[in-house]
Symmetry: C2
Subunit: 244 residues, 2 copies
């Protein structure tokens, strides 16, 4: 397992995790190529639309670790594996083991459309089933399977659900997911309608207004009680710039 | 204990917790009056400078609960008790018990200058020793006592340290605190230099720049590895407006 190569499209950091259960965490990022979804508002379309296919490298876990140390040095103890959808790859198991051997905590970002045995090893597992505005239809049987397994292995504190919200239909979807899995830490996140603008000064005021709208919707909602409402910090600071 | 009154200066919500270990959490706020500190950049000076003394009410825990239900209805399961310094009051024990009986989670914000037996009952205990820019000198013997007790009672996962950073001297202080308590979840937060401006549109760009500066300082720092770097979300959205 340790020798099977992973398609990696970028490795960068250290920077902050801008969203979700470990928002603000100093972390390195490993971004895998490929996705089983094609969300209309995806902010990382280059991972699956072919536009950055020349950037994909097939790397063994030890080569990923070498690259992480080369660019991150001794500054980090946390690595986030995002995509695309990293849950496409059973061979991520070997990378997680290698990182843990180096005393590195591992976070994973996935939409929860595919189950992997290695989910139970992840320190911060974010499952982000996609709401109607994405154009996707989540398979809740798979999500059930993942969450049942996390329960069984005592990994609920290492798990969270994160729903991106653009509109009221997305909020209806979020309520249904929260009611289905009431004991999983639950995060609502503002959607970013403009995933191309690299100028944060233009984008930030719009994103803050969207965040305020989302807060307003949730605060008086009796179905969304024990929830956390967050923006994407990296877009507030850097717009849609890649590699930060 | 349940009948001893607490000096309360405001009760409001539901809103988001804008900072620290449960950033984004939907919560109600209870703000106690009085502080043993007088930080130069305190954003709640009205709790201790006498300017809002007419707003202080002496309330029993049951009266606080009645007020929380009156304004928050059935929208919340989380209450944050802030100040001033709520750790001035041993009688907070009774309020925490009452809230827990109602299945409400309880967060406390304190500088860690005073020990209370009830710290071990708190669901989210934020200790924010004040850096040099505050003009205060933290008593680390007391902080040692608090953290030793949290360890002893298995409450480390419910505890965090949060340091507000204005300058490089504050960062030196943060490094020393992180090295002293390396296993306590550690948060760095941008300072807000203008605690009077109620116009978020003016304030937000400055705060984002400060946040970016803080990220830059921390990312290449090998002494600050496993840390989380966060802004104050409420000031990004609402400036210094009270009661949100």
């Amino acid at each position: 397992m340790n020798k099977i190569r992973l398609p990696v499209i970028e490795i960068f950091g250290p920077t902050i995790q801008g969203e979700g259960m470990v928002i603000g965490q100093k972390t390195m990022f490993v971004r895998t190529a490929g996705c089983d979804y094609s969300c209309s508002w995806c902010d990382s379309k280059f991972t699956w639309d072919g536009s950055a296919r020349d950037e994909i490298k097939l790397l063994e876990p030890s080569e990923i670790w070498t690259e992480l140390k080369k660019i991150g040095g001794c500054t980090f103890t946390h690595v986030t594996i995002s995509g695309g959808n990293p849950a496409l790859y059973p061979q991520l198991d070997g990378l997680i083991d290698l990182l843990h051997e180096q005393d590195i905590q591992v976070a994973i970002e996935t939409q929860g459309s595919l189950f992997q045995e290695w989910f139970r090893k992840v320190d911060d597992l974010t499952l982000s089933p996609k709401p109607p505005s994405s154009g996707m239809e989540p398979n809740l049987d798979i999500l059930d399977q993942i969450i049942t397994a996390q329960h069984k292995h005592g990994r609920i504190d290492q798990t969270s659900l994160k729903i991106v919200i653009f509109d009221n239909e997305d909020l209806d979807f979020a309520r249904a997911i929260h009611q289905r899995y009431p004991d999983i830490p639950f995060y609502l996140q503002t959607g970013n309608p403009d995933v191309k603008d690299e100028n944060a000064d233009d984008l930030t005021p719009h994103l803050i207004k969207r965040y305020e709208w989302l807060i307003d919707q949730v605060m008086n909602d009796i179905d969304l009680k024990n929830v956390r409402v967050l923006p994407q910090l990296h877009t507030l600071v850097w717009g849609n710039k890649r590699g930060v």
